[in-house]
Symmetry: C2
Subunit: 321 residues, 2 copies
DNA sequence: CGCCTAGATAAGCGATCGGTTATCGGATAG
DNA sequence: CTATCCGATAACCGATCGCTTATCTAGGCG
């Protein structure tokens, strides 16, 4: 029974699939499967069994989850405690959905870092779907993205962070540029140039594309939002974008907003972390920070110096440990 | 950071020496030392440092102890939880000092076993000194021996179990047999035939020998009390013994009690286990059991069928896991 | 019916673990 | 000063871990 095995098991139990757990851990599927096999053999219980709809816990597995989860949590706590005892900088791992990670997160993280020098902040990317489990399993300390409040993760606390506007942009040459009061359903057969969050089942962009019934063939997914925007400048296509990031850019992009009815879409990003009694000192400091005007200001500031290379290449994987 | 390493560290911290930890775990000294080295390297903290008087914790080490302790505790809890979920018999590991293990413990354990068929009980031996740490680290569930109440192990609960009389016996041929009102200090230069607990710093027999200033050369330590008694039948020497065990034996030993002033010595054995809120179901059942008349009766019953071979050969080591 | 998805299994590989015996080093006591 | 105790280290070894790629297999679905 190793901590690695326990962590794999907990993630399988929490996420309901070996595949998702493997993705969250950034390893291959058999790695997780065999970790599970070792546990099963050693404990003499199958722990989880596949059913038609995901993986179901056995009675033994159900008991193991909270214990194993706590053990893994204690392991990271141990490391943090010792680092702190030595006066070493505390560590804060922020995960965000890809849209956040490419818009407001860098500035927010930088501002926080400037203020609390004793904390080392790192920024990662994950899908909305995995975020709750990642936070609960302490693979990360803070999550930024859509609201996670109704997820059945009672130990997580989710609060509104930032109100933003989703707009659609295109090159000035685009045939819809300049058109007035465009009907949304007219966009169903346009070419869409989107960032990685189009792969995230629960991202606003994804649900929008789903609602419009845009066929797969008309969607081009880019490894970053910046790349999607660049493509929109050059190719005929529509890109969703966060309003203030595109419009207030000091070096304006070669795209213009489209006058689509119902836009800009008002949306909210939330910040999620463990409940107050079990979060780390650094997490608590971050939580306090995001309530300050300095944080709001940083997020509203135009995006500066963000290059796609700043973001982890494997966008949908969060790797630490 | 593996559980094995954490356990080694905790035991070193608790027992104050690598040697004692190695003994408790039943492994060699370098095994513990290298486990410690791995932890030190990985966490970047020396954790414990040797001083003139034992090992001293660093600030980081001090923080790690409770966390690591909890982790290993959870590991054994996990196994127990799953075993129980499968309806498998619960497991109760009893440790006792060697005097108890050879006198009342077998009957007590057997009686408990007969009553709760769903619990598998095993009996081990350890020194008084190590008992508290062994219980706290869940290497065993129940400890029987001298009182441990003043040991600075706040999570342990210690209650009186059994009042017994310590007497001295010798062969009827012995020159002191039949003598009246023997002065204790007259025994200082006799030959003593004692069981393994003479090696236990805190056993009553040891402190008695210390008080009499019996020279090392006059003490013969046997691998079991039974062996010491047998030797007393055949050789010229005095053996300490638990009164009712020797006197009520259905097949009387060839020894007689000596009329030493101050004897019989009234002593108490205690039972120690984790505090009520963190003990296992089986431990709780055992705790209830020792308060019943059946338990008292079992302990008072003459020792039946006890052979030295029933006791672990390496007397001062407790091995499970 | 065959395809597809997702988990299990096989085979293999390097790193680490966990243990041993033997030796070294440093403080303490006599 | 030397003997001794105790922890650290060296050298070594087998088992396991943790991971990979490739293949197998059981259900669900068109």
């Amino acid at each position: 029974m190793t901590l690695t095995q326990l962590e794999a098991f907990v993630l399988v139990a929490r996420l309901g699939s070996v595949k998702a757990a493997a993705r969250s851990l950034g390893v291959s599927e058999p790695a997780v499967s065999s970790a599970l096999a070792s546990l099963r053999q050693q404990l003499g219980d199958s722990l989880v069994q596949r059913t038609s709809s995901g993986m179901e816990l056995t009675p033994g597995g159900r008991r193991l989850v909270p214990i194993a989860s706590q053990m893994v949590g204690l392991a990271v706590e141990a490391e943090a405690a010792i680092r702190q005892a030595q006066g070493a900088p505390d560590n804060l791992r922020v995960v965000a959905t890809s849209d956040v990670a490419e818009s407001v997160a860098p500035a927010l993280v930088a501002a926080f870092n400037a203020k609390s020098k004793a904390v080392e902040v790192s920024l990662g990317v994950c899908s909305t779907e995995d975020m709750a489990a990642i936070l609960q399993e302490r693979l990360a300390d803070v999550g930024i993205g859509p609201s996670l409040s109704s997820d059945g993760f009672p130990r997580l606390e989710c609060s509104p962070l930032f109100r933003y506007r989703l707009i659609f942009v295109a090159s000035p040459d685009h045939h819809l540029s300049g058109a007035a009061a465009i009907e949304p359903r007219a966009l169903a057969h346009e070419t869409w140039l989107v960032g990685p969050d189009a792969g995230d089942e629960r991202s606003p962009v994804r649900s929008l594309l789903d609602r419009l019934h845009v066929p797969e063939a008309r969607i081009s997914v880019f490894p970053s939002h910046a790349a999607a925007l660049t493509a929109a400048e050059q190719r005929q296509g529509i890109a969703p974008a966060v309003a203030h990031v595109v419009l207030d850019d000091p070096e304006p992009r070669g795209v213009v907003p489209l006058a689509v009815r119902g836009t800009p879409v008002e949306l909210l990003w939330h910040v999620t972390m463990l409940a107050a009694d079990r979060r780390s000192l650094a997490s608590a400091a971050f939580h306090r920070f995001v309530g300050t005007p300095a944080a709001t200001h940083a997020m509203h500031a135009p995006l500066r110096g963000v290059r796609p290379s700043q973001f982890r290449p494997p966008v949908y994987v969060t790797i630490w440990n």
